[in-house]
Symmetry: C2
């Protein structure tokens, strides 16, 4: 409980700070991209520790399952609720109660703020995958809060 | 282990980001004060959750003991090693292996960077105390890494 709260509060503070620090025309875009980059580096660091004693992964799907179960649980205290793939390099990770959105009110008028609350996590997933040798583009989308979907597009090298 | 790492990585990212965002003459001072303010708000939020089911504190010393034991353990996974007071409103909290300094190399040439790594925690303590009705000024000092002392000066109202 305590750890959860610490992460959540810190995450909100970062969003607020970056949001106020990045001023200019494309402020919103820059804020999101800064958060994404921050998430990327944290994801790289975390996955390195988490997989220290993990046996080698069989394939891409095996890596994705690890992200959905072990990685998600250690960061967000729950697993991803649903993982889908088209078996052609696109994976959709659905979290029905995404922890970093539960602080936001569910009203539709807040939907426009959702990207700021998802950017760090998109980066987190991209960074974790990157350190496992999987290059990807990660985007997120919210339809009804606090549920959201992360789409991972694997970049073939 | 995972939670610890998440907090540590996030904390480093914030320092780096704020450090690069705050440019100008008094950049170092502003960076430290931004971090302190961030810690203050996080401390306020955290203590509210931690003390939800805690009985009322007897006195100031009782509050300080709670900070040194329960609060410190939940954030830093260890207790404060030594608590001293002059019984006139000054408390010194010593942590012999402060978690947010263990990432820094122990060389003396890195001592000048220590304030950035302590500012958030100074604010954290000040925020927690503030929400418990104790107004204070919190400063920190490092002599030999990764040991450090936090000095709490109670402000009588």
């Amino acid at each position: 409980m305590a750890d959860e709260a610490l992460f959540q509060f810190l995450h909100s503070e970062i969003i607020q700070y970056i949001n106020s620090a990045e001023t200019g025309e494309s402020e919103n875009g820059r804020c999101v991209s800064k958060l994404e980059n921050m998430g990327f580096r944290v994801g790289q660091g975390l996955i390195e520790r988490f997989t220290k004693d993990t046996p080698r992964f069989k394939d891409e799907l095996d890596v994705m399952k690890f992200i959905c179960k072990d990685f998600w649980t250690s960061v967000f205290k729950k697993q991803i609720d649903n993982l889908r793939t088209n078996h052609q390099g696109i994976y959709v990770l659905q979290d029905n109660k995404f922890r970093l959105l539960t602080q936001l009110s569910a009203g539709k008028q807040y939907l426009e703020h959702a990207p700021k609350f998802l950017a760090f996590t998109c980066g987190l997933v991209r960074g974790a995958l990157s350190n496992l040798g999987v290059k990807s583009i990660v985007t997120a989308e919210v339809s009804v809060m606090p549920a959201c979907k992360f789409q991972v597009m694997i970049q073939k090298i």
